[in-house]
Amino acid sequence: MTTELVNIQPLYQPVKMSGEMAVFSPEVEAEIDWHLAKYPSKRSAILPIMFIVQRERGYLDGPGVSYLANRLSLRITDIWEVATFYSMLHTKPIGQYHIQVCKTLSCKLLGADKITEQCSQKLGIKPGETTADGKFSLSLVECLGSCGTAPMFQVNFDFHENLTTEKVDQILDSLP
């Protein structure tokens, strides 16, 4: 669940298909239908469906945004307006493994700077950058609610807590 060296999956598979509007498999469409059914207003499903589009496309690209607008009966600008507000939504390509180091106070007090430095050194990129092969992105993020097990980082959706520089090496080395 958390803190263990779990089998971390890539955030997405590289998308080969392109076009004016994204097309998804029947399984993904069924998942989207489930979210739409939860709310009396279609628009409420925008965040859950954005996460699905992001997972399938790698980020919220033009065809993905066109799909969202069409599926939710909204304007393209309505989609961008929401997409640019939330920090977990990406409007530019991001690495398949997103390493997010918490920089807020409790983590900072217990060595977040060292963890960031170790990630930077190991991956050869600064916070805010992606490796040339598109595999890793490194970000500094605000409080992730792991203050009692600080310092921590999140790799894709997995929390890794009570980090040491050795543990950072071990986790990063384990990523396929």
């Binding site: 628009r43 409420s44 965040l47 807020t104």
Partner: protein
């Protein structure tokens, strides 16, 4: 990390160490869903609200508003649907208690929400969880499926004519969505911008319908209030603040964790120096932020030898607030200028940009911190900080502006030497 109770029998944390504590079987084997059965079988919705009023349960998300009173504001004769929304956004620095409640005892939240839904007449309910907590959303979804399959959720719950549904909803990385009206904007599919109050959500909330927004810890207290009765629950705490309270403890302590204490625990010094194992690495205590990053920072000499009582009134008398109960402990090596800069960067990043005082003010505050840090301190910088904070506090659209101003105001007042040291560096 420690998870447990000090100074009382564990109540909300009593199941968290059981094997498979997240499962329906373990929950039911340990008294789970008995409170819901009691409410549906023998209490009217008004009876439930009255018990919650008697319990003196105050909202555990930060504001501390009496829960029973909030519930009683929902109009009974509204023709619109009503909603119960659980605020599981938990993004306040230093606060991580709700996470463990959902991870280890998700059915307690479902039961609490269903009792609230019964009391208020809500047919559809949502748990709004920050997107980063994806693993918790997965746990909650499994628990909701278990409850649905067991006839505890959906149509004709426990064979009665009460029907109600609960769905999880994913946030996407925005602290402001912990503010209840911003949360509702986000749940409706918009940017998480706060709304003008009044009207309050109880009258016009989600989809302009009557809505109660309660925090995870608040809702998980409800089953025990129904089981033991409001008065018995109140007696676990103080006259004005009933029950027990969870405190998230982090920073320079030997035993960080989630602590359940009776409301009104009478010695904050003992709590830090004994219960939490004291200050790590043999260092001295310098400062504590007791209620999440948006409350006043306290000096060690406001705590040591002062018998600060840990409840709403006691912490105000001691010079701070309960807030969300996020204790951040700092040892003598901490530079309060730097820690305050760190928190101000947080508020700058999390300002939603909707109103000018907060958007521009937090950005400006960070610029001043950085200028001073880079050796560009000037005479009058302390006054500049205070003037800026004065122009944010009470003048922003929602409490995020206050939350950004208070750490700086209190840090300057209580640790002026740490600010002067940096300003005079040049």
């Amino acid at each position: 990390m420690f998870i447990g109770a000090i100074g009382c029998e564990p109540l909300q944390l009593r199941r968290v160490h059981l094997e498979n504590s997240h499962s329906l079987d373990v929950y039911r084997a340990n008294g789970g869903y008995e409170a819901l059965k009691k409410a549906l079988d023998s209490m009217s919705p008004d009876d439930v609200i009255n018990e919650v009023k008697k319990s003196q349960l105050r909202g555990r998300g930060g504001a501390g508003f009496p829960t029973g009173m909030k519930w009683s504001f929902v109009p009974k004769d509204s023709p619109k649907p009503k909603y119960v929304v659980c605020n599981a956004d938990e993004s306040e620095p230093g606060t991580f208690k709700d996470r463990y409640l959902m991870e280890r005892d998700p059915h307690m939240l479902i039961e609490g929400m269903l009792i609230a839904a019964y009391a208020l007449g809500a047919k559809t309910n949502y748990i709004y969880t920050r997107g980063e907590y994806k693993y918790l959303i997965d746990i909650m979804d499994v628990a909701l499926d278990e409850a649905r399959a067991a006839g505890l959720l959906g149509q004709n719950i426990l064979g009665t004519n009460f029907s109600s549904e609960i769905y999880t909803h994913t946030g996407a990385g925005a602290y402001i969505c912990g503010e209840e009206t911003a949360l509702l904007s986000s749940l409706e599919g918009y940017r998480g911008h706060p709304r003008m109050k009044p009207p309050f959500p109880a009258v016009s909330g989600l989809y302009a319908s009557p809505t109660v927004v309660n925090n995870v810890e608040t809702l998980t207290a409800v089953p025990d209030i129904i089981t033991m009765g409001g008065e018995a629950y109140q007696k676990l705490g103080t006259e004005k603040s009933g029950g027990t309270k969870l405190w998230s403890v982090s920073g320079h302590v030997n035993r960080p964790g989630v602590y359940e204490l009776p409301m009104g625990y009478d010695d904050m010094e003992k709590f830090i120096m004994e219960d939490c194992g004291g200050i790590s690495n043999g260092k001295q205590l310098k400062a504590v932020i007791p209620g999440g990053s948006s409350v006043y920072i306290m000096r060690a000499d406001q705590i040591i030898g002062k018998d600060v009582r840990m409840d709403y009134e006691g912490l105000v008398a001691g010079g701070s607030m309960v807030g969300s109960g996020g204790f951040i402990v700092m040892d003598e090596t901490v530079d309060v200028f730097e820690s305050t800069k760190n928190l101000t960067e947080f508020y700058k990043h999390e300002s939603c940009g909707w109103c000018t005082p907060c958007r521009e003010g937090t950005d400006w505050l960070v610029k001043i911190f950085k200028r001073i840090e880079n050796g560009g301190g000037r005479d009058g910088d302390i006054q500049l900080f205070l003037d800026l904070c004065d122009n944010i506090e009470g003048k922003s659209f929602c409490p995020l502006g206050d939350a950004a101003a208070w750490p700086i105001q209190s840090a300057i007042k209580r640790f002026p030497e740490d600010f002067e040291k940096h300003i005079l560096k040049n």
